[in-house]
Structures are given as structure tokens and as C-alpha cells.
Symmetry: C2
Subunit: 198 residues, 2 copies
């Protein structure tokens, strides 16, 4: 369905590609593209490193979540742990590192759920979604300039906060869709044991 | 929970604010901020107009969705209808306009669901989520340069495509969370009759 093959009447093709801004975090491009009707237009977007998100399930069924101030939206947000891949890092290693650094937890079992695209009109970003269980607590190692609270909540609490508009982060809401359908037995996961980081 | 009041230990405060790029679509800023520990850092982000997304439910229970090529991710994506607010436009008017322009449908009943933030580390954007029912078909009026297919699907089909990784747009996945919990009776909606646009 995401394959572009049968959809040539929708596809845009690149004519040129120009970097328009490279800051410390944002990397913006402006491409000229051919539209399906042969006309041309401009597409501006951000190149973004890939990222991972972790849905950490405690043995008692409660979820590990974070509370973090997000400057662009000027709000403290409730989120599942997430972060960008380091260069050369694979997605599972990134997920394990982010979980350990941000929450202190290590997990003995991991399952890959899927992928989400966070801002398809603006950014190349996609986020790889992982489930983690068999959690053991440890010490956090936050990055410089990173401030966040870690706490636990039940699925029912997270869903109620979503319904009330207190949890509005699209990646975390997508995580709740996965969690709800996994826990109700509809979406099976393929769990793998992963030895702890020394 | 999203209130910043009890979370002063997480909050960042703006010191300065600089526009770094203004293109035809992207509008980027670079602010210097004070961190909770008194140090300073830089936050780069996009200012984005607000947007709306519509979850259109046909009388037979099937959903109206779109297939659209999204250049930043170089993929044809399955999405609920969505679009940006025009200047001075309110969210419901935007939702009605986007539904009519992109799909041709008008709806006689509308319900506000909630809000999602699509990219909280990168963008100010939020998307207002609306449900629409009492649909009557009409003629599409696509913007210049807009190419998209409209089709219908059941909730079960959309959930299956999400599970299989064929539907990965975070706003649409968030819409599925709302839809699933609305249709299973957990999340009530407050429907309002809205007269058709002349």
C-alpha cells in the first residue's frame, strides 16, 4: 500500500535539491519537483535522523512514561521514552540506550512493533516503535541539557489522559494504539531475549 | 497534566528569538533559552499554522480516507483528510472546508474529539481532531498542485494496515486510537448538527 508502483498518478519527481538552512538541530531543504500533471512546484522539508520509541511494560503491567518540557509547544508533555539514532547505531541499540539513559531501566525482552512517520508534509523523520519487558531499574544518564521526570501509569490512566486531552503527543498516542491492540490480543508481538548491557 | 505550573524543574525560558529561515512553506526560528539548571542552550524549531484532521464515518460505518504522495518521506501514504487553517478561519470551518475540498463530502453532524501535537521537538504544530457523519457526496475542489485519491475502508481494514506497517502516518494512527475507543463505547463524543454549506 505504501509502495509507489501502482500510484504513478500521485508521484512527484525531484528536479533539484538545495540546502536552505543548517543549524545545530534543523536541516532544511528546498527541492523543485515535477507534479503528476507535469507542472513543477517547490517542496520544503527537514531532513531528520531516524528515531526510536520504547513502550516499557513493567511486570505488574504498568507502563514507564516521562514528563518533559517541549519548547516548541511550550508545554510539559507525557511521552514514551524516545530518541534519535546515533551515527551507525541500529534501531534496537538506540531503543536500549534511550531507555537506559532516560529512565535507568534495562529490559531483558524486546519486540519490534512498527514504524510511525511523525510529520509527513514537513519532515523525513520516522520513528521505530519497540516494546520492552523484563525491566530492571538502574541509574539514569541524561544528556547535558536534558531534564525529564520518569513515572509509571496504567494503560487505563494513559487512555484516560488521551481522552481528556492531557496526553497529546502523536508518537505516544500511536504507542497507545499499539499497546491497546497488543494487550487486547489483536496485535501479536515477536519477543526476543536480549542480554543486558554490561 | 499539560499545565506547566507544578513542573518548574522542567521548564525552559526564552532569552532571545531569531528567525533563521522563511521559505514558501517552512518558517524556522532559533531561540536561546534558560534551562532548569540555569545554563543556556539553543532550541531550533518550525512555526507551523494549526491544522485540522477529519475522521469521516459513512452511514454504513466505513471511513473515508485518502492516498497521497508525501514528498518528504517519498511514499504514498494513507491518511484521514487534513489541512491547515486559513488566516482567521476557525477549526470547524477548516475541517468542513478540507473535507469538502479534498473528498467532495459534506457532513451534517460534527463532533470535536481532541488535539494532537505532531512533532513536539521540532514544530509548534497541533492538529485539531474532528469526527464527521451524515455524509453526502459532492464534487472535490483540490488546490493547485494537490493530487490525492479518495477511497473508503472499514475500521478493521485500517487497523490491519496499521498492524502491517502499511499505514504509518502518526496523525492518522492517532485518529484510529480515537475511532477505536469511540466505536467500542469508551470515548463518548458530543455531536452537533451543522447546516450544509450553500
Amino acid at each position: 500500500m505504501n509502495s509507489t508502483k501502482p500510484y504513478e498518478h500521485l508521484i512527484e519527481h525531484r528536479l533539484d535539491h538545495t540546502e536552505v538552512y543548517k543549524g545545530s538541530f534543523l536541516h532544511a531543504f528546498r527541492d523543485t519537483v515535477t507534479l503528476p500533471d507535469g507542472k513543477t512546484t517547490v517542496r520544503e522539508y527537514l531532513k531528520h535522523p531516524c528515531a526510536t520509541m520504547v513502550i516499557p511494560i513493567r511486570d505488574d503491567g504498568r507502563l514507564i512514561v516521562e514528563r518533559q518540557y517541549r519548547y516548541p509547544v511550550q508545554q510539559v508533555m507525557i511521552e514514551f521514552p524516545a530518541g534519535k539514532l546515533d551515527p551507525e547505531e541500529n534501531a534496537l541499540d538506540c531503543a536500549r540506550r534511550e531507555l537506559r539513559e532516560e529512565t535507568g531501566y534495562q529490559a531483558s525482552e524486546w519486540a519490534h512493533a512498527g514504524v510511525l512517520h511523525s510529520g509527513i508534509s514537513t519532515s523525513t523523520e520516522f520513528i521505530d516503535i519497540w516494546f520492552a519487558r523484563g525491566l530492571s531499574p538502574g541509574t539514569r544518564e541524561l544528556d547535558a541539557g536534558e531534564f525529564l521526570d520518569v513515572f509509571d501509569a496504567s494503560l487505563e490512566e494513559l487512555l484516560e489522559w488521551a481522552r481528556l486531552g492531557l496526553l497529546t503527543d502523536a508518537k505516544t498516542l500511536t504507542g497507545l494504539l499499539w499497546l491497546q491492540n497488543h494487550l487486547n490480543g489483536s496485535w501479536k508481538l515477536d519477543w526476543h531475549s536480549v542480554p543486558p548491557t554490561p
